[in-house]
């Protein structure tokens, strides 16, 4: 708030301080303050203070200004009552304004604005009819030699020597109008209450009840007065009750302010907890924060959200997501609401991005597993095609050559050619067999990893110690990858670590196959160029596993692969996939 807009605030504060000071010190030339004076002044002071705070904190609401005015009017009335004479006449005329301001605040809480024509009519009537009537009464009473000049004319009117029909009539009218206004107010407040959302009722409730207190006291005493129940005791009780209830309203509003302050702390708290919060936890947190238990977070597909009950508001909070809530939160504290919505949007964005990344990752894993499976099936198909097709054809051809060879004498050139052709055919078959085995060893499919690795061990040109410990057979694709890890590592050892002892260990741990190939050769595998181990790394990763190569110079080489028992585990985050990114140096 800039200084110019603060000016009315300072003026109000100054007036209030001056009036309170005059009441409490009796300056100039007033009576010494009594206990009732002090209590009354403090009550009005509390209203002034609460009004100022509300004005500063919630400049959008009129309630702060009304509260300030209410406190000042209370002080004016009290001062008039203390001093008597003209001051009391001013105070007397301020009485209907005092109640009008309270009624205004009560009717229009929390924004301080009349919303319907009926509300505007009542507020307008309160501020006009009351002062006019009271002024008229004061003037009439003065003319009739009213003791108003010496104070307390309001309830001692019966003691006028000759009140006259005009004064008595006006006085009776005052009471009737007061009760009428009170009834009108009650009707409008009930109507307004019905329109309020649960969240608004929660905030407005204490204030309405608190303001209702003094009003009820006022109506009660107006009724007692009308019934001519008058005594100094009743007057005293009235004053005390009025002063005490005067505390309630500012206190209730202060409590409301304090609640707003807490809510701001809650927003900060929400922000702090956001990064660990799920969408499911966000809804109750927001509902608590915005004091709207019916609040919902809705995801919108295409068509806009259809606001079923007509009073819920849908506030967009991120891509395709709405906050469904009651308008009170928006009206009461826009910055708070904006902060809460921003916080919610952050969480939702976070959750959406996380879900997106997870879904993409799962899709990548799944497609990788599908690729591995497809490649595996393709290898199997080619291997079978080679076996059923080319190999059998070549063998058939060979047998034909044999038959031809049997039909020609040994020492002819035809026999020589046929023998050569047969020898070439044998070579072709051997090559085909090697090719076929490289694709996918038939034994692996038929007898599993143990049998296939024993063949690797037998064919190896370096001594291999082999231990295979598998309770069940892993996925075919996983078996193939494990097989080639061993085959490649053993072949590497044979090539680079001549004379070394190779140890192969294959064991199952829970859902994982651990393949370890160690040799005591020269090590330094990572410095050798070649695609063997790199290709292996890709194959292992594609099956959802991780390959580690440790090969310090002079310290032997260890190739270790951790593979999920089923390649599909990769898609659901199997143990292998956790370390799938650990890099293996390529030879």
């Amino acid at each position: 708030m800039d200084s110019r807009r603060r000016l009315p605030l300072w003026v109000g504060l100054g007036v209030a301080v001056a009036l309170a000071g005059a009441r409490l010190t009796g300056w100039p030339a007033g009576p010494a303050p009594t206990a009732a004076t002090v209590v009354g002044t403090l009550g009005n002071g509390a209203a002034v203070a609460a009004g100022l705070v509300a004005w500063v904190r919630r400049p959008d609401s009129q309630v702060g200004r009304l509260l300030l005015a209410w406190g000042v009017l209370g002080l004016v009335i009290g001062l008039g009552s203390d001093r008597g004479g003209p001051a009391d006449t001013v105070g007397y005329v301020a009485i209907p304004l005092y109640w009008a301001v309270l009624a205004h605040a009560l009717l229009t809480y929390p924004d301080g604005r009349a919303h319907t024509a009926g509300e505007r009519r009542l507020v307008w009537s309160l501020y006009t009819a009351g002062p006019v009537l009271w002024t008229a009464t004061a003037v009439a009473a003065h003319r009739a030699g009213s003791p108003c000049a010496v104070g307390r004319c309001r309830f001692d009117i019966g003691q006028l020597s000759s009140p006259g029909t005009v004064v008595t009539g006006l006085w009776l009218l005052q009471k009737a109008v007061s009760i009428g206004f009170a009834a009108w107010l009650v009707i409008l407040v009930v109507r307004r209450w019905r329109r309020l959302s649960p969240a608004q009722r929660r905030t407005a409730g204490p204030v309405v009840w608190a303001a209702g207190g003094p009003l009820a006291v006022f109506v009660l005493f107006a009724a007692l007065d009308l019934a001519e129940v008058r005594s100094p005791t009743v007057w005293l009780v009235y004053q005390w009750l009025r002063d005490a209830t005067a505390f309630w309203v500012p206190l209730a509003l202060l409590a409301g302010l304090l609640r707003t302050r807490l809510t701001r702390a809650d927003v900060a708290d929400l922000l702090v907890r956001l990064h660990t919060m799920t969408v499911d936890e966000l809804r109750p947190a927001l509902a608590r924060l915005l004091r709207d238990p019916l609040l919902e977070i809705a995801v919108v597909d295409g068509a806009a959200f259809n606001d079923g009950d007509g009073r819920r508001v849908a506030t967009p909070i991120g891509a395709g997501t709405l906050l469904l809530h009651h308008p009170s939160t928006e009206v009461e504290d826009p910055p708070l609401f904006a902060a809460a919505v921003a916080a919610a949007a952050m969480t939702l964005d976070n959750a959406r991005l996380t879900a997106q990344v997870r879904a993409q990752l799962a899709e990548v894993d799944a497609s990788r597993a599908r690729l591995v499976e497809a490649a595996e099936q393709e290898r199997r198909r080619i291997e079978r095609d080679l076996h059923d097709g080319a190999q059998q054809q070549l063998l058939g051809l060979g047998m034909s050559l044999q038959a031809a060879r049997a039909s020609v004498p040994d020492d002819t050139s035809a026999a020589t050619y046929l023998d050569e052709a047969t020898a070439q055919l044998r070579d072709a078959l051997a090559e085909l067999r090697a090719l076929s085995r490289g694709l996918r060893p038939a034994l692996l499919q038929e007898r599993g990893l143990g049998a296939a690795l024993r063949e690797v061990q037998r064919r190896a040109t370096v001594p291999v110690r082999l231990a295979v410990d598998l309770a069940v057979r892993p996925d075919p694709a996983v078996e193939t990858v494990a097989y080639f890890v061993v085959a490649e590592a053993v072949q590497n050892a044979a090539r680079y670590a001549t004379g070394a002892q190779v140890t192969v260990d294959v064991r199952q741990r829970a859902d994982t196959v651990e393949v370890t190939v160690c040799d005591d050769g020269p090590g330094g595998a990572d410095r050798r160029a070649g695609s063997g181990l790199r290709g292996l790394h890709d194959r292992v990763a594609a099956a959802g596993g991780a390959l580690t190569v440790v090969s310090p110079a002079g310290g032997g080489t260890m190739v270790a692969a951790r593979l999920p028992m089923t390649a599909r585990l990769a898609a659901t985050g199997g143990p292998g996939s956790m370390t799938a990114s650990s890099p293996g140096p390529a030879r």
Partner: protein, 217 residues
């Protein structure tokens, strides 16, 4: 007398080639079959002397041949079985020889291009011997994992061990090495002692014993 042979292979080319080869040598191919069930029926119906069975057959194209061979040996003891395998697979050979089987053989499929070895194997299994492809035996002997105790054997003893592993009897070994069966017998005795293999000199169990010894890790 001519041997009555049943050919079991899902490849028509192989069956045709083998039929021509065997019949040119005076053997009678009495039936051909493309899978294990047809093989059993053919063996039963024709009271075949020898069944030549490919390891890979429908439906799974894995080890149907080994299973079929064992069934035939169990159910039709008068029918010898010669299994042909595309690859050297020691596990299958050992399975065939399980339980001291006789009248069985395990040859590489390439032997169809080597008519003398093939024919010899057919006759040997028919005679009740066990036949193991020499390629398989030499692979075992030359493997880096072969037991170091083999170094204790003399050159001649190694030759005898190899022929033992191929399933030859003492008489057969003697014929191969051009020595007397008695000499072979003493070599065999020596080998068993030096390697600590349980002695079962005359039974075909010894092939299995030797193979098991050779391929143990």
């Amino acid at each position: 007398m001519s041997l009555r042979v049943v050919l079991v292979d899902d490849s028509l080319i192989i069956r045709a080639g083998l039929t021509r080869l065997l019949e040119s040598e005076g053997l009678a191919v009495v039936a051909e079959a493309g899978d294990a069930d047809a093989a059993r029926r053919a063996v039963a119906h024709h009271a075949a002397d020898v069944a030549i069975v490919d390891i890979r057959m429908p439906p799974t194209h894995t080890d149907e041949g080994v299973v079929a061979a064992q069934r035939i040996r169990r159910d039709y003891p008068h029918t010898a079985v010669l299994v042909l395998s595309q690859y050297v697979e020691t596990d299958y050979a050992l399975e065939l020889l399980a339980g001291g089987s006789t009248h069985v053989g395990y040859l590489l499929k390439d032997r169809v291009l080597d008519r003398s070895t093939l024919l010899a194997a057919v006759w040997r299994v028919h005679a009740g011997e066990v036949v193991v492809d020499p390629v398989l035996v030499s692979a075992l002997l030359d493997a880096p994992t072969a037991p170091s105790t083999l170094d204790r054997l003399s050159e001649r003893e190694r030759e005898v061990l190899t022929l033992m592993a191929e399933g030859l009897t003492d008489r057969g070994i003697a014929a191969q090495l051009h020595v007397s069966p008695k000499t072979v017998g003493s070599h065999v005795q020596h080998i068993f002692e030096r390697l600590g293999i349980p002695d079962s000199p005359t039974d075909n169990r010894r092939v299995r014993a030797v193979l098991t010894y050779l391929q143990r890790p």
